[in-house]
């Protein structure tokens, strides 16, 4: 058992280290931070709108950077290692294939988590800075000041960050799954991106499929069924928009989505490990 954990953590640690030492990701992070910082520029709007812009841009920066890192990183994971043949020096050891897959995933996710936390702190910092700026501008009206403070230091932002992270973790699991069948990094990135986009339409496909009356052609029905069955519903994470809009989202709903992500990741990793088991290296 300790041996198993040790091996998984060795793969994870090595993957994490590789990601940390890659310059591309550092550049992406800097880009995201600049974007988050630059969001201060709309000042002609009401403070509610200014905060909404900041938050939207902040989450978009986190999501987009995370998506890119997840795609690039996961594509590197297995096809990259096969290309570089480093995988041989790992898989020839007393290491189970699934341990390798799980370790790779955890290494990547740990890196993603680190990036999300850094970017979330940047968003938080920019919101705080905006708060100060607006408080100076609005003078001392206590009611307005309280409203500004509530917008800037909204504890619901934690829920939003959690949801962004969960969504990215699912995307990373998808990428790992595809990387166990792929031989090229482009294939992994293209497939993952495709599923990511379809995932936002999955709810439509699901409803159309379940309401049998609307679609009669069986080819279309099969297509809808495949999308509904195999693709995650990324619209569930749109709760983030609700949070940014300043509306109430209860923790139970948030945690349910996080739980859904967790189960999904588990299934994807199990399927990935299964595929990888039969693969010739």
């Amino acid at each position: 058992m300790t041996g198993c954990l040790r091996r998984i953590s060795a793969v994870a640690g090595n993957t994490f280290l590789e990601a940390v030492r890659q310059k591309v990701f550092a550049v992406l992070l800097v880009f995201a931070l600049v974007l988050i910082g630059g969001a201060n520029y709309f000042t002609e709007f009401s403070f509610q709108e200014q905060f909404k812009f900041l938050k939207d841009l902040g989450y978009a920066a986190i999501s987009l950077t995370g998506l890119l890192v997840g795609l690039l990183g996961a594509a590197q994971l297995i096809p990259g290692e096969i290309e570089k043949r480093t995988i041989l020096t790992a898989l020839c050891r007393p290491l189970r294939r699934w341990e390798f897959v799980v370790g790779k995933y955890f290494g990547l996710t740990a890196y993603l988590a680190l990036m999300v936390v850094v970017m979330a702190l940047a968003v938080w910092g920019v919101l705080g800075w905006k708060e100060g700026q607006l408080l100076r501008a609005e003078g001392l009206d206590p009611e307005a000041a309280a409203a500004i403070r509530a917008e800037a230091m909204d504890p619901r932002l934690l829920q939003a960050v959690l949801l962004v992270g969960a969504k990215l973790a699912v995307v990373a699991a998808l990428a790992v799954f595809f990387s166990t069948i792929a031989t090229s990094t482009t294939f992994v990135m293209a497939m993952t991106l495709l599923v990511y986009l379809i995932g936002h339409l999955q709810s439509v496909a699901r409803e159309q499929w379940l309401e049998a009356g609307e679609v009669s052609r069986w080819t279309v029905r099969i297509f809808l069924a495949v999308v509904a069955l195999l693709v995650p519903d990324f619209n569930l994470y749109n709760l983030i928009d609700e949070i940014v809009a300043g509306n109430v989202v209860v923790w139970r709903t948030t945690l349910e989505v996080v739980g859904y992500s967790g189960v999904y990741i588990g299934v994807l990793l199990a399927a990935a490990a299964c595929m990888f088991e039969g693969r010739d290296i």
Partner: protein
Amino acid sequence: MGWFRGRVLALEGLEMEVQKGEVFGLLGPNGSGKSTAMKMILGLLRPTSGSAEVCGFRAGTISARRQIGFLPENPYFPVFLSGAELVRYYGRLSGLGGAGLEKRVKELLELVRLGGEAGKRPLRTYSKGMLQRAGLAGALVGDPEILMLDEPTAGVDPGGSREIRDLILELKARGKTVIFSSHLLEQVEDVADRVIILHRGKKLREGRLEDLLTRKNEWEVKVQGLPEGDRQELLAWLKKKGGQVVREGAPRERLEDYFLRSLPEETRR
């Protein structure tokens, strides 16, 4: 997995057995199936038919792999690691950890002469020979019974080659079994006890080097300080006795030995 792709039979009807404690050479030109054979022993590839056993375990199982330390052909290591980090990583992959692993990492780096500062540098600054030695340390970290080295000297300069050869002999002295492949036949000569020669996936020859290479009906003497007159006399005598002189003249040194001899003493190792 070869979906939609043609398959090539890489290896056919290979039967071989390696004894404990011997140095075994797999010889053959590129594409003759040496790497494929090794990958099958490790379970990285699945044979379409047939089986292999390692120390009594089915090849490819965890227990079988625990017995083997492998150094693949032209390995590309995670170059962002240092030599010590590489060996530590491979140790952890083999399920080791803690102070025991640290001690082992230090020992192995000493063994492959990458101790001290060299072990702390990132791998991307290493020469090919250093990389190969670091890889060897990595292969040894799990203390395997068997070492399997795929083209360990390919692309390595003569000095580096010599070092790797010395290491193989040292490991043999420690009781390890070494299986290695090469397409450079003269390198095999110095170290291998037994060889198998592959060609296009089929076995051509197998046996002890002494048996394979010794020309039993020939006899050789090397002589120093014999005057020219006596030499002529000796040749005539040999002819009279019915011997046929196959080769005669000043022996030539192998270029590799000459090269190594011309290096200053301290850089030879």
